[in-house]
């Protein structure tokens, strides 16, 4: 199985649209036949995951540029093409998405007991939207997926959510919409600027393409885009939405214009991440959303923001991304997010309030870490950011599932309602422990790898960044351990908790892949994730920092030894 073979199958289109096809098929089920609907939806979500797996095998990890490229005519008169392609970063996020999609469906088996048909339709549509964002190589296509995804999420929160669901749902929608429409303007401005850039920088374009010599599909796509934009005349405007060509030529946009564009993208992505002070939609959405909604929200949706920074902001607008004016805003915000999220989480434990709120604020803190890694803009920082994106998807999703398990049994999420659960639910307590440790970054678990790389990257960049990040990690350990202690240890004080059943087989089934992944990434990070993301990381760093020389193939080895060494020395 190689890229060529899968490319002929239009594998990316298949992976992207398969969930939507399932949603379409679900429409033909009778809404009363809930068992059939459940079985079908779960089977389909699992199928979507299985179909995405060949990508991992066929993906050429050392090849620069994009793979499995699909490139078709779509709306010629506005330069829009149906272009898809992935690099290693997108690949790991795609597999994470399909996995969490299957898990989310399975976790809803008992949780969702009203309007099941609609629920699974929306869940599958949401998955198509998220996958589309990761595979799109055309700005227009990207934007379509980016927006369309909001609609099913709105319904998932709004129909199956908690008491305050209507408020949370519309708040989620409006916040993210405001961000994305501002981003749309930046996209249009880039689109409009491209012909000038192509006309004045064609020789630099060739130089930029040189490292992709082995990747015909990528170079052809970029050359075609350049040709399309180059055909623009005074009377007949023509341009392209191709994303890689903006990577190539974005750097030539004057710095002041870059900063404006950067700001517009920033609003779109920062709301999604979410960064302080744009984070207020997140706790509301998480607290109200059903478990599956929270899993998807934390596991994938938040990553779209950081993915946006890595795919668009840094490579397209490198000048602005390292400009002091930008960093002076972004880094403090990231640091505030880290500390603020952690402190609030501590506060929620102190007052024994809603567990979901706690996990939601811990997300703000963790995503702040990721942002710090991204803006360290060195190989370790960005590697760490991507690893941590995946880690956060694993551990935070698991924590939401854990809260969901408790909620299904007791219909409350108040920390004060639980204590000593490890006595009645030993399997559950074990899984919770693993995920707590993963979240606080215990060595041999996935969280450690990500946090370590981010810290290293941050220290390399600026000691103070590292200091702040460490503070966040310490606080993170405090609230997670405290939460675990409060709920799992001690005596059972609530009579209702004495007879709580332990995890069912179905519940174990959806925790198991997450636990396995947590260990796998923790023990063998190189094989399971770093090998995939090293090439994209080096590419992003070289985009931002022109003096950075991309290590050639051989250089994979030294970088490979980085993290195990670090593991040992800490």
């Amino acid at each position: 199985m190689n890229e060529l073979m899968l490319g002929k199958l239009h594998i990316l289109s298949l992976v992207t649209w398969l969930p939507a096809a399932g949603a379409l098929a679900l429409l033909f089920f009778h809404k009363e036949k809930t068992d059939q609907i459940r079985v079908f939806a779960n089977a389909w979500a699992a199928l979507c995951f299985v179909v995405s797996l060949p990508l991992l095998v066929a993906f050429d990890r050392s090849k620069a540029g994009f793979q499995f490229i699909e490139d078709h005519q779509w709306i010629p008169s506005i330069g829009v093409r149906y272009q898809m392609g992935i690099d290693g970063m997108a690949l790991v996020l795609i597999v994470l998405t399909t996995l969490l999609g299957a898990i989310a469906a399975l976790s809803s088996w008992n949780y969702i007991r009203t309007r099941e048909k609609e629920f699974y339709v929306f869940l599958l549509l949401l998955q198509t939207g998220m996958l589309g964002v990761f595979v799109a190589l055309d700005f227009f296509l990207f934007y379509v997926f980016w927006e369309v995804m909001l609609v099913p999420m709105y319904f998932i929160i709004g129909i199956w959510g908690g008491e305050n669901r209507l408020y949370a749902a519309i708040k989620f929608f409006l916040y993210t919409l405001v961000g994305s429409v501002v981003m749309l303007l930046a996209i249009l401005k880039l689109y409009f600027t491209l012909p000038e850039l192509v006309a004045s920088h064609s020789s630099e374009l060739n130089a930029w393409l040189a490292p992709f010599a082995g990747n015909e599909a990528t170079t052809n796509m970029v050359r075609n885009a350049a040709q399309a934009a180059g055909a623009s005349t005074q009377t007949a405007f023509a341009s392209s939405f191709n994303i890689p060509i903006f990577h190539a030529l974005g750097q030539f946009i004057p710095l002041d214009a870059q900063i404006w564009l950067w700001a517009a993208f920033f609003i779109g992505f920062a709301i999604k991440v979410p960064m302080f002070p744009f984070h207020t939609w997140l706790p509301d959405a998480h607290v109200e959303a059903p478990t599956a909604g929270s899993v998807i929200l934390a596991g994938v949706l938040l990553k779209l923001g950081t993915y946006g920074f890595l795919r668009f902001s840094l490579p397209i607008l490198p000048g602005a991304s390292v400009d002091a004016r930008v960093l002076n805003v972004v880094v403090p915000l990231a640091v505030i997010g880290i500390i603020y999220g952690a402190l609030l989480s501590l506060y929620f434990i102190y007052t024994s309030s809603d567990m979901k709120k706690l996990v939601a604020y811990s997300s703000v803190s963790h995503m702040g870490m990721v942002m710090l890694g991204i803006f360290a803009a060195n190989p370790n920082g960005i590697n760490g950011a991507i690893v941590q994106m995946v880690n956060h998807g694993i551990s935070t999703s698991a924590l939401f599932l854990i809260v969901g398990v408790l909620y299904e049994r007791r219909h409350t999420r108040q920390i004060s309602e639980y204590s000593g659960l490890s006595q009645v639910m030993p399997v559950f307590a074990t899984i919770f422990l693993i995920m707590t440790m993963s979240s606080i970054g215990l060595p041999l678990l996935n969280g450690f790898i990500g946090e370590f790389l981010i810290l290293r990257g941050a220290f390399e960049r600026n000691v103070w960044w590292g200091v702040w990040a460490v503070t966040g990690i310490v606080l993170g350990a405090a609230y997670m351990l405290w939460l675990y202690q409060k709920t799992m240890f001690g005596r059972i004080e609530q009579p209702e908790n004495e007879k709580l059943p332990d995890l069912s087989r179905r519940e174990v089934a959806y925790f198991l892949p997450l636990v396995v992944l947590a260990f796998a990434i923790g023990i063998l990070p190189q094989q399971f994730i770093l090998n995939y993301i090293q090439t994209p990381t080096q590419y992003i760093v070289s985009q931002v920092d022109r003096s950075y020389v991309q290590p050639k193939q051989a250089a994979l080895q030294p970088a490979a030894t980085d993290s195990p060494e670090g593991t040992g020395s800490k």
Binding site: S77, E118, L150, V151, R165, F173, L177, V181, L184, L185
Partner: protein, 536 residues
């Protein structure tokens, strides 16, 4: 200039002649069929529209890419006019289709309703093809008077009467204002023909010309009159009341066809006639500034006022005010992208808005008005297909991809970005930012409807049973709304060729002391634009 009227010229207005014939005969058919047999008249009118569509199609295939002036340059048949004629005819046909059952429920089934729609369409078709201020004005009045009557059609309904009176008084007032503007232009340019005016204003508005202030006043009057017609703030006050009081199919017709016709006329007058006044030299505000402010205020107010509405008809009325603002932005941007944007926006707006109105009309049943937001509660359980259709229409109205509404908004935003870049005018960017932020406000109020349909349970148990016709119209609109969003190329091509006739009017160099030099090429270009494509 031709002498007399030739049969060739009559052939050019064949669709209009067909509509006239059928509109007049419809009144007869109504009498022959007898009371309460309005359906026959409806069918008759639909036949007429069918013939008109066919003849428009023939005209399109014969004159595609060229421009034929007729009747002493009173009307012209070009791609622009034909584009709009298709639009009006289709909108009218759909309106008639969704009216039949509504009038049954209202117990007001009679033929003159359909005849009036035909007359209104006749006015619209001439509004799209008029090239003379007088022919345009007369067509506008023909449309407006028919619509005044339609608004007050439910004569036992006080709301309907009130709406008609309000609409009529303000409409007459605005016509007067516009007529005053026309007279001033005639006084200055000695002609009411748009191309004569466009040639004259270039020199008349040059710095130091005494006439330029008069022309500015005339321009403001024309803009005010047109803004009344498209319900742009601050001349929008009639719209919510008229939309709410009018029979719902008429409201649909007004928000779609009447608005499109007014825009057809607006765009033609301001580009073909007053194009040179987009920017005025010597510190005077041109229409780019005037309309830019109007558009900004319209978008803001239309969208914000809509958020507090509890009645769906009023809500959609305010939303259509907001849409008028977006359309104005296409004109303000003043480039080809913007012109194309106006056309494609109107096209997609027709289908998504008519679709939304069709769903509202389907809710009108015995004993239930169906136009409060509460009446939509739990629609997804009663009529799932209608609810999903409505969701898509609302998403389209808000401009969420991949619906057709996004394509319209895309063009408007791109036009503003383009104008901002090319003219290095930061205000265009500011308008773009305002416009995109207001789409978020729009989502908020559209989602009050979505919330009612999907997230709220209904207490009323009366079933919603759309007729097969209503269902088909909604389904067709649904397919088009999605289809034009996903595969818009065909519709973009039609809009591009329709907009091709308009010139771009850039900022005239401020320090040009001799207007003749800088303007001569402009007037020349105006006539020579079709040189290449005239022969097919």
């Amino acid at each position: 200039m031709p002498t007399g009227i030739t049969s060739n010229e009559l052939w050019l207005i064949a669709p209009e002649l067909i509509i006239t014939l059928f509109a007049c005969l419809a009144l007869v058919v109504d009498i022959v069929a007898g009371r309460g047999r309005g359906r026959w008249t409806a069918l008759f009118c639909l036949t007429g529209i069918g013939f008109a569509l066919i003849s428009t199609g023939i005209l399109y295939s014969e004159h595609h890419g060229s421009e034929r002036a007729a009747f002493y340059r009173m009307v012209a048949v070009d791609d622009y006019a034909i584009f709009f004629k298709f639009l009006f005819l289709i909108a009218a046909a759909l309106t008639i289709l969704i009216s039949v059952r509504y009038l049954d429920v209202e117990r007001h089934q009679s033929g003159e309703f359909y005849a009036l729609i035909m007359f209104a369409v006749l006015g619209m078709m001439f509004m799209a093809s008029g090239t003379d201020l007088l022919s345009l004005y007369v067509s506008l009045e023909l449309m407006a008077i028919a619509v005044y009557v339609l608004v007050g059609y439910l004569r036992n309904d006080r709301k309907s009467n009130e709406a008609a009176i309000k609409y009529f008084l303000l409409g007459a007032f605005s016509s007067g204002i516009m007529l005053y503007g026309i007279s001033l232009f005639y006084g200055a340019a000695a002609s009411t023909n748009l191309s004569d005016i466009s040639a004259a204003v270039v020199e008349l508005t040059a710095e130091g010309q005494p006439m330029r202030y008069l022309l500015l006043i005339a321009l403001v009057l024309m803009a005010a009159g047109m803004c009344f017609k498209i319900a742009a703030v601050p001349f929008h006050m009639w719209a919510p009341d008229a939309y709410e009081g009018a029979p719902t199919p008429v409201t649909a017709f007004m928000s779609v066809a009447v608005k499109a016709a007014s825009f057809a006329m607006f765009t033609r007058i301001f580009l073909d006639g007053f194009g040179a006044m987009r920017y005025l030299p010597g510190g005077l505000p041109g229409w780019a500034l005037i309309l830019g402010i109007a558009a900004a205020v319209t978008i803001t107010w239309g969208n914000i006022a809509a958020t507090t509405q509890k009645n769906v008809k009023r809500l959609l009325a305010y939303s259509s005010i907001g849409h008028a603002g977006y359309l104005l932005l296409g004109l303000v941007a003043g480039n080809r992208t913007g012109y194309t944007g106006i056309l494609i926006y109107l096209l997609v707006y027709t289908f998504m808005n008519l679709g939304a109105w069709t769903v509202i009309i389907a809710l009108r049943r015995e004993g239930i008005a169906g136009d409060e937001v509460e009446d939509l509660n739990g629609l997804v359980h009663k009529a799932p297909a209608l609810a999903v259709f409505m969701l898509v229409f609302l998403l389209a109205l808000a401009g969420i991809p991949p619906t057709a509404g996004f394509i319209g908004k895309y063009y408007i935003f791109l036009a503003l970005i383009e104008a901002g870049s090319v003219e290095s005018n930061p205000w265009m960017y500011a308008l773009a930012v305002l416009a995109v932020l207001m789409t978020a406000v729009a989502i908020y109020y559209y989602y009050t409807i979505v919330k009612a349909m999907f997230l709220t349970d209904s207490d009323a148990k009366i079933a919603v049973e759309p007729t097969r016709v209503q269902w088909s119209v909604a389904a067709a609109a649904f397919v088009l709304t999605i289809g034009m969003g996903v595969l818009p190329q065909f519709f973009i091509n039609r809009s591009v060729e329709a907009a091709r006739r308009f010139q771009v009017y850039p900022q005239r160099p401020q320090a040009a002391p001799t207007p003749a030099r800088s303007t001569a090429p402009q007037t020349g270009q105006l006539r020579q634009r079709d040189n290449g494509t005239n022969e097919n």
